[in-house]
Symmetry: C2
Subunit: 399 residues, 2 copies
């Protein structure tokens, strides 16, 4: 290894593009060694050695049969940005090491926050950290209790646990009990069913946080933004960019109604820092760049149409399920999340026998297992997914 | 935006490589719009629009005059991996969405943990989260107090604050007081001065965590690994990969002596999860891939030689500072961290007048400001850095 290995190696990068765009021309290599190798094999051979694990044998989240988790495929412009940001390795912790990258993150927040009526915020490696950050700020503002609905994401429980706060789970937002010292966490698009809890609930809570990790981007859609009406009354909002904003992981937003006060309450100073360190992370990368590039490339209108298409795919899947005598729909899709199942073959058996090119996820609601399909993949083919599940049922019955 | 935008776009990716490898052929574009644009300009134009902010006007961490923060330049093989991992967007939260990526992270841990006598662990977006994770596990094992030295990173204070634990700062590891319910956080390579606190200290503590965010990779060097002798007695160790393992952000390890017990104590189950969610993050990307690729390319030996070279650069800088009558050295470099200053021009004035192509960081030790140079850049030129500081002093005096 020498200093040239840190320079742009055109041959290496062109080969990386070739393997990515024409994988069919390449034959896989031997498995990776079990221990850290003593000597290197060089960058070109290392690239080939990674082909299987990173590319060929990865899950194709954009395949027609993938209608499963909240993880989307990503547009190629975001890949180009990851190539670039990795090459520059700016650290947003220091103005010195990220003169423009800090501005880029501020710009990304400026582009997104107004759609939610928030004044600002920052980016985090996911909505778990975004939720933790919000509940931390709420605690600093005086909250002692976290109150959430039964459908809240596990990160709410995790955050309360980390922060040493009591966590009260309620069935009904119209019957919350005293919220004077509570942060009410209202979920817009629950993980299991996509349900949007009442966004105007808990108006008397000390702090109102809306976990819109999944559904937040609907706000950009003219057709669907009304689903999030009222979200602008929150004190803080978590939104994943690596879900319905089609970003590579790890990327999310925590937005605040009053971000200056909130940021001040979750900042720590350090002798080696020119500016305070805000939020959970210390060092922080240029995760805004792929988002800004994608929004530039397609505009609000382009992203919204992609989300609208995804919502339509969930409706189509629901229609196919309803139309089939052997299949059962739990309810109409919520925010592109559909829970369904086969009437006579268990969820586990279906999942076990799915064809390789079809994937659905699963969840448990009130003790009952369901298949779960989330419309994160704009290329999903509902008919293929239904056919795959029926095929799995057939295969399971024959065994 | 349509489904083709999610496919490998060879023309776009080749252009991204061209702009990265031959930036001199490109003229910068107009500033980015202040608001989210309604309509898109397409991926090719978006790429051009990002050139300035992401590439041209970023800080060059690998420039000869950059001898500043703990942020290294990154080898090109890691850029190729970021291109690939962004394209696949695997989510390690689900075995379904990361069949190989989960194995890659396990492999990265298997390659690194044995050098520290640890049984396993996982990757985090930085050592702040790694430290938080360790102190969380320590709390679950019964700790109520965090005890650290005065040089501990601010993330220790932040973690104690987040976790609702008392934080006791001590001057002297030989006089700690009762540690029966304490997690002792010993810093191997303090942020300000690079000092390694006694790694065998606090042997009676309930939990011993070593924050080796900066210095950890020295363990891979035959010449320098003795500096970390005793580290294998820790209960947990934090190591940044995006510092001295030359990884793009955000990348670090939390390693545990008994990772199975530790992971169990910091895991949360969820109805939609096939396996428990371990640690602070929820969704999690394939950050192991660039590290494994780099270690494959250069081997332990190659990385160690790069770290050894960096240590030599710090020694060279120290020698130049000592040899110059106008410059003052605080002490010999510790783990490649050097604190120094001009005898008659303030740290602030020096920093203000540095030439554009020279950068040092600064810190405050016992109330005294110092310039700080961290040997994260294997391409740094100590003579150029000293010349830049002397030039800044001259410029400052003339004003």
């Amino acid at each position: 290894m020498n200093s040239e290995d840190f320079q742009p190696n055109e041959q290496l990068l062109l080969r990386a593009v070739e393997l990515l765009t024409s994988p069919e021309n390449f034959t896989s290599t031997a498995p990776l060694p079990a221990k850290l190798p003593e000597m290197g094999i060089g960058s070109m051979d290392a690239l080939s050695a990674m082909f299987d694990d990173v590319l060929a044998k990865s899950r194709d989240l954009g395949a027609p049969g993938f209608f499963a988790h909240m993880d989307p495929p990503t547009p190629a412009i975001t890949w180009a940005m990851h190539l670039w940001t990795a090459s520059r390795n700016q650290n947003l912790l220091h103005p010195d090491t990220a003169p423009r990258a800090r501005e880029l993150e501020k710009l990304a927040v400026d582009w997104i926050a107004p759609w939610f009526g928030m004044s600002g915020g920052h980016m985090t490696p996911g909505s778990t950290v975004a939720n933790l950050t919000a509940i931390w700020a709420a605690r600093e503002s005086g909250c002692r209790v976290v109150v959430s609905g039964t459908g809240a994401h596990l990160s709410i429980r995790k955050s309360a646990h980390l922060l040493g706060m009591e966590h009260r789970i309620i069935d009904d937002w119209s019957n919350t009990g005293d919220l004077m010292d509570a942060v009410a966490v209202i979920t817009a698009g629950t993980t299991s069913t996509g349900e949007i809890e009442p966004l105007d609930a808990a108006s008397e809570a000390h702090w109102r946080h809306i976990d819109a990790a999944w559904s937040g981007p609907l706000r950009l859609s003219e057709r669907h933004r009304h689903l999030l009406d009222g979200i602008e009354s929150a004190d803080s909002i978590a939104i994943s960019a690596h879900k319905w904003l089609f970003q590579p992981k790890e990327s999310a937003f925590i937005l605040f109604a009053d971000h200056e006060t909130a940021h001040k309450s979750i900042s720590i100073e350090g002798a080696y820092l020119a500016v305070p360190n805000i939020g959970v992370l210390g060092s922080h990368g240029t995760i805004a760049a792929p988002l800004i590039a994608m929004l530039l490339a397609f505009g609000r209108e382009g992203i919204a149409s992609m989300i609208d298409n995804s919502m339509t795919l969930a409706d189509e899947l629901a229609a196919l399920v309803m139309a089939h005598a052997d299949l059962e729909l739990r309810s109409a899709p919520n925010c592109g999340v559909l829970c369904w199942r086969h009437k006579s073959v268990s969820v586990d058996d279906i999942k076990r026998h799915l064809p390789d090119d079809v994937m659905v996820s699963s969840t448990t609601i009130n003790g009952e297992p369901w298949l779960r399909s989330v419309a994160a993949n704009p290329n999903a083919n509902p008919a293929k997914v239904v056919a795959g599940v029926l095929q799995a049922a057939e295969k399971s019955r024959r065994q």
